[in-house]
Amino acid sequence: MSSSIDDKDITRELWQSRLPICFVLSDEDISKVNRSELPEPLYLMLARHIYFPCIIDKIHRYYSIYFKENLNDPTNNVNLTNLWLEYESIPLKWHYPIGVLYDLYASSMASSSARLPWQITVHLSKFPEGELIRFPDKDAIKAHYMSTLKEADALKHKGQIIGDMQERDHKQLWNSLLQDKYESFWNINNKLMAFTDNLQYFRYIPFRIYILDKPFIQKLFSPYDADEGKGLTLNDLLHFALNHEAQCELMANEKRILNTNIDDYQIVTHGVQPPLHTPLQWLSEHFSYPDNFLHICLIEKRT
């Protein structure tokens, strides 16, 4: 079809991602509504690369109308601090980007019953203490974002670039993320995508591989094979990561060992399945999430 595609087009397309999400109040909470009208479902178009706590204010505002009297009552269980989100009985971790959660749990590849808009249930009571930490305020989620960013830079440049950046650049990153400002974000992010130490690639690629029911896999992996003098691909990364993880499980005498056969999985990131021979360096530069990590979901193919 086309001529050369600019990397900027791809990053722009990534930035303009939106997922239609429908927040529905849980049944037991509905029964607590002391008004004649029941709250309608809340529909929002959310970007894949932000976090749920970013829009928690909206959810608060929406449901507080319906629970005005109850909110002031301390004995009541219905409480905004008890707010948690759930999809098909999976409590959603708030520190994952929305896109990752969707790809892992709700995409068409993951779930047979998946359909858009993504229907999330809002709970205001019965907080699952064992599985989740309560939703944080804006500062906490910003701190989480910044620490992830620093971790990514540490892997890429030994932390030199993020260390040289000023506080206002960090603020600009987070604010442009909240306010959905592509130019403003990539102005600063470009600095983080630069090379140091006279290398033409990152020192290590920051990535996390998500598999269902397992914690995410994160390894040290260089994008350049010095011996053979060539850049490595996604395929190489996955091979290495899965095998390494399987070995670790073996050593730890885990009961269920990871399936290391790549063909059994669908490799999804950002909702697309990039070809396995895509250069890893390029992926890290242009296909990372705003926290500079490659979040790759491996979904077992249904037979």
């Binding site: 079809m1 303009q16 991602s17 997922l19 178009m45 808009p117 070809p275 895509t278 296909f287």
Partner: protein, 559 residues
């Protein structure tokens, strides 16, 4: 890079599937929800309002029910009372309102007046400020002018002081000069006095010397000569010596005058008439002048008795009437002629020195007073004094009659002149008028004065010679002869250098010599001349006599 292409396509597909389909719907849905919530709010509010109104209504109904129980009269009365009260209140309020409006009107009027006053005051203020500004400007101008004047004043003061200083300086200097002037004057008077004294002493000394000399010579003379009437000559000499006048030619003091007896030489001077003849003071030259307009100079060798022509002086434009030599050794010869001018030649170089013009008619006579002062008398009835240094006529004396001859009395310019109107005039050196006049019987043709300036010989047309004594201006002698006739206006008569003899030529060619003391004719020299003798001259030594006649012959007479 087909992986890029694949990725890109997947992304586009994803976005379309996930976003594009639902974006609009979600937006619209959210808007509807908002509107719905707003409406809900309003609804609840209105319900609340309704409830409250209903509550009020029921309350009112309750109230009205309770009110309806009272008797009617009381109700009416209370109502009426309330009504009256309300009416009164209304009236008072209206009255108050009226008062207030009146106050408002008056106050607004006052305000207007105040505003008007304020306006007028402001206008006055503006005018005054303008005046103020103009006055300030004038003040500034005046200040500038005054400062300018002050400066001028200062400069003038400075100048004045400077002038004062200069003036005091000049005064001082003047005083100094006055002092020196007085001092110098004193010195000068002293010197003049000294000089005068010295001169007096010198003169006395001179006189004494002369006396001694004379005495000496008299003693000598006593021994040789017998024909001299020595007592009289000595007495006349003595008397003349005691005058104290300065002699003209001190060198030739004592002369030995001899009455000539015979003609020694005779010669023809020129082709025309001879009018004047004169001896050079040294005695070696004779000058003749006549109507050939030239002056001939002849050398005289006295010992040999020869006369030779020396040179000729030309320059006159007409007949030469008189000749004079200067006595002060300047070697000048003066000739006056009928061309109204006198001329002065130098004898050494025979060069015409001066031409003195100014007379209006023939010049008959001219004499040297000093080497630089000449007196001339002319037919135009004036006498003129000429200064040779300036070559100007310094004085003109109006005589009133033709002047035939003149003699100089002294170096200051005193003259005696003889005129056609039979008068001899004595002129003072200081003023231009005659000091004295002497009347004779006939026109005076010539004058001669002796060396001491005591005796004046005048020849007049009445055929006589008169000897006048000058101290008393009195004729002391008259000389005449039967054959002596004066037929011309310019016949010259001379005195001998010692004044012992007087000589004149007659019209028949004979020369007469009278003795001045006796008055008798001493000698008659004739047979040489044939025509009228115009002029005679005595040699300064006294040994010779020369005469010239009209017919160009000059004769030298001697012993």
């Amino acid at each position: 890079m087909e992986w890029k292409q694949i990725i890109y396509n997947q992304l586009r597909e994803r976005n379309r599937y996930e976003r594009d389909v639902y974006a609009e719907v979600v937006r619209h849905y959210n808007r509807l929800i908002e509107n719905y919530s707003i409406i809900l709010l309003r609804c609840t509010e209105q319900e609340r309002d309704i409830l409250s109104l209903r509550q009020e209504n029921t309350d009112l109904q309750k109230n009205s029910v309770s009110v309806a129980g009272l008797p009617v009269n009381d109700k009416v009365k209370t109502l009426e009372n309330d009504y009256m009260k309300a009416k009164d209140e209304i009236l008072t309020l209206l009255r108050e309102r009226g008062d207030i409006t009146k106050e408002v009107i008056s106050l607004s009027r006052i305000v207007k007046e105040r505003d008007d006053k304020l306006d007028s005051e402001e206008k006055k203020n503006q005018i005054l400020t303008k005046e103020n500004i103009s006055l300030k400007q004038r003040l500034e101008a005046a200040k500038e002018a005054s400062s300018g004047l002050q400066k001028v004043n200062e400069t003038i003061l400075d100048e004045f002081q400077a002038l004062q200083l200069a003036y005091s300086e000049l005064e001082k200097r003047q005083q100094e000069l006055d002092a020196t002037n007085a001092f110098l004057r004193r010195e000068m008077t002293e010197k003049v006095e000294k000089q005068a004294n010295a001169l007096d002493a010198e003169v006395q000394q001179h006189q004494r010397r002369i006396e001694d000399d004379v005495k000496r010579k008299l003693d000598e003379a006593k021994n040789d000569i017998t024909s001299f009437s020595t007592p009289t000559t000595v007495s006349t000499f003595k008397s003349s010596l005691n005058d104290g006048k300065i002699h003209r030619s001190p060198a030739a003091d004592f002369v030995k005058v001899v009455v000539p007896t015979k003609a020694i030489a005779k010669w023809d001077c020129c082709d025309n008439e001879l009018h004047a003849i004169q001896f050079h003071p040294s005695g070696s030259l004779v000058a003749t002048g006549g109507s050939d307009r030239k002056i001939h100079i002849w050398e005289l060798n006295g010992n040999l008795g020869q006369v030779q022509p020396a040179y000729v002086l030309a320059g006159n434009n007409s007949t030469v009437t008189a000749i004079d030599f200067d006595n002060e050794g300047a070697n000048l010869i003066l000739g006056c002629s009928e061309d109204f001018a006198c001329r002065v030649w130098g004898l050494a170089d025979q060069r015409l020195r001066h031409t003195l013009t100014g007379h209006g008619a023939k010049v008959f006579c001219a004499k040297f007073i000093t080497a630089s002062l000449i007196a001339s008398g002319s037919q135009d009835r004036t006498l003129k004094l000429w200064d040779l240094q300036n070559r100007q006529c310094v004085r003109t004396l109006f005589a009133g009659s033709k002047c035939h001859d003149l003699v100089a009395l002294d170096a200051s310019g005193s003259l005696i002149s003889g005129h056609f109107d039979k008068k001899i005039r004595f002129w003072d050196a200081k003023n231009d008028s005659t000091k004295c006049e002497l009347q004779l019987q006939a026109a005076i043709t010539s004058l001669a004065i002796n060396r001491e300036k005591q005796l004046l010989l005048a020849c007049s047309r009445d055929d006589t010679l008169k000897l006048i004594e000058l101290r008393e201006n009195r004729v002391i002698q008259t000389f005449s002869h039967d054959d002596f006739k004066v037929t011309s206006d310019t016949v010259k008569a001379v005195l001998s250098p010692d004044c012992a003899y007087a000589c004149a030529g007659g019209n028949d060619g004979s020369v007469f010599v009278w003795n001045t003391t006796t008055g008798k004719v001493e000698k008659v020299l004739n047979k040489e001349h044939s025509t009228i003798i115009n002029a005679v001259a005595w040699h300064p030594d006294g040994r010779f006599l020369v005469s010239c006649e009209k017919q160009r012959r000059a004769v030298l007479w001697g012993e």
